[in-house]
Amino acid sequence: MTEPLLDIRGLKTWFKTDDGMVRAVDGVDLHIDRGETLGVVGESGCGKTVTARSVLKLIDMPPGRFEDGQILWQGRDLIPLSMEEMDKIRAKEIAIIFQEPMTSLNPVYTVGDQIAEVIELHQKLSRKQAIAGAAEMLRLVNIPNPQRRVHDYPHQFSGGMRQRVMIAMALSCQPKLLIADEPTTALDVTIQAQILELMQEMKERFGMAIMLITHAMGVVAETCQRVTVMYAGKVVEEAPVEALFGDPRHPYTQGLIRSIPRVDRSAEKKQRLEAIAGTVPNLLDPPPGCRFAARCKFAMDVCTQAVPPLKEVGPGHFVRCVL
């Protein structure tokens, strides 16, 4: 086995609040190999976004802090790095796109200026060359009339087009890893399909790896090779995508998959959805033992006593459950 591109080990990102310490990410292990797409799924508050932002150290500190763990980027731990050293890694080696493309673009600069800024920062180019590079990136992400559009402002683009601009900016320095944090959640379904296809195209073109953060199991099934399922700040299951959907082992993963209505199964229609009872635990004071125990229909006494270890149940398939 070669060294993974990104290897997160035992990461704990906690936040200090007036009510106490919120353990948003509480001992997360995950890795991404070169050129692969890893899906990180889970519901609101499971820590998937905080994990992603921790990698680029985009967490406000305070209130946040790295309590423990390592973030190994090609073998080098990012946590002790200074902001200046991180600047050399951001965009150039690891880039990120966010859910809301409007709020992640600066409304008072043209999109060309914003993409050119990234290019200038990392490659020794003149302004003119950088703007030309920006137009070339817009062309790559299939924005019509890139030469003209490069001088437009973010508000002149639709939501889907803005996400294309974000992707153009993220890829302008050909990063080795693209972190996509809910990139299509704010978009309509036909536009979502366009953006997912574009990401796939760009991945093949630039050979980068993608860490796709999402709550949508359908998107994961169609785009990822491997999946990490998170619940309440911990990884509960990790598996190749076929194994995760074909043979989900953690009761939470099973619940997630069965609670989605399926468009492709109209014959078995009117089957009741399998809802997961209850709500996620409070991360200020997480329960001892398995964090899913309170909502789990298979829970036993042992589940509430100690956190079960992540055990291997198949090739590359790990699950944090005593069953």
Partner: protein, 338 residues
């Protein structure tokens, strides 16, 4: 602007039932103001000639992407937004002709639940007061004790605890708030419930809880739903029939299973094929639509969909197709699909 519009001569209804609600050629144009004098410079055709029927006890799903007019349609039916023109018939009464008092009485039978369970509950009122308010307005309870009893009963119906009535909205999660919204709507024992994106803001495991609750309540109280959502899998799951909207118009109405198995309109087809399926072993051919939904201030001429339609022919930009019954109970507005 006078684009030719689809207005079905006949009504797309189920032949076997007298409709609880009939909507005919409903239109809502919003004024676009501009300049320093805020003159009306243009109009947005948010709802542009929508017609459908809902039979008692069924669920009509309305799907479409942002800006297709589905939420505006729902609000126009209750006259929360005043329609520009068209007819709305509810239980045989002409909703468009109702005065304030008649409307208020009508709204006892027609209630709405909203997408955002955070914004739709008054943060200063207890849950008991929020649910009880409707009971007082419609004079459905005679004493404080009777009101409390009824609120407790409603909370239990939607899966909450009686002691929750003394709490405030901020103490509840999104899913619980949506249950409170449902309890408030059910307080007046409505016949028709307009559900405007009721589960869109919820996590999937919670979404399933609310969908199951809505199905249980429908069975228990014989409710009729107008279920508006952008998530096709959710709509397919809960609906009896589905109307697909695009840029203010209904492009297709069909029984849910039939729409999903054999869609007629190219837009419905593309919309369905764009839904990601949570099964990596299924590889489907995706119909990729080019471009974005056009600006509803200047919708394309003729068939609104012709600019993105994979089978468009020259005359599609000239003539707007009418919603026609292409198969029994299956209506679509397309010149070239049968």
């Amino acid at each position: 602007m006078s684009a030719p519009v689809a207005s079905p001569a006949a009504a797309p209804a189920r032949a076997d039932a007298k409709p609880l609600l009939s909507v005919r050629d409903l239109r809502k144009h919003f004024a676009v103001r501009g300049g320093i004098l805020s003159r009306v410079v243009d109009k947005v055709h948010a709802v542009d000639g929508v017609s459908f029927d809902i039979a008692a006890g069924e669920t009509l799903g309305v799907v479409g992407e942002s800006g297709c007019g589905k939420s505006t349609t729902g609000r126009c039916i209750l006259r929360l937004i005043e329609p520009s023109s068209g007819e709305i018939w509810f239980q045989g009464a002409d909703v468009m002709k109702m005065d304030h008092n008649a409307l208020q009485a009508m709204r006892r039978d027609m209630q709405i639940i909203f997408q955002d369970p955070y914004a739709s509950l008054n943060p200063r009122l207890t849950i008991g007061a929020i649910i009880g308010e409707a009971l007082i307005i419609h004079k459905l309870v005679k004493s404080r004790q009777e009101m409390e009893d009824r609120v407790v009963q409603l909370l239990e119906t939607v899966g909450l605890r009686p002691d929750h009535m003394r709490r405030f909205p901020h103490e509840f999660s999104g899913g619980q708030r949506q249950r409170i919204g449902i309890a408030r709507a059910l307080a007046v024992e409505p016949k028709l419930l307009i559900c405007d994106e009721p589960v869109s803001a919820l996590d999937v495991s919670i979404q399933a809880q609310v969908i199951n609750l809505l199905e249980d309540l429908q069975e228990q109280f014989g409710l009729t739903y107008l279920f508006i959502a952008h998530d096709l899998s959710v709509v397919e799951h809960i609906s009896t029939r589905i109307a697909v909207m695009y840029l203010g118009r209904v492009v297709e109405i069909a029984p849910a299973a039939e729409l999903y198995d054999t869609p007629i309109h190219p837009y419905s087809e593309a919309l369905l094929s764009a839904v990601p399926i949570p099964d990596p072993t299924i590889k489907r051919k995706r119909i990729m639509l080019e471009g974005d939904v056009p600006n509803p201030i200047r919708p394309p001429s003729g068939c609104h969909f012709h600019t993105r339609c994979p089978i468009a022919r020259p005359d599609c930009s000239q003539r707007a197709p009418l919603l026609e019954e292409k198969r029994p109970g299956h209506w679509a507005a397309c010149h070239y699909r049968e």
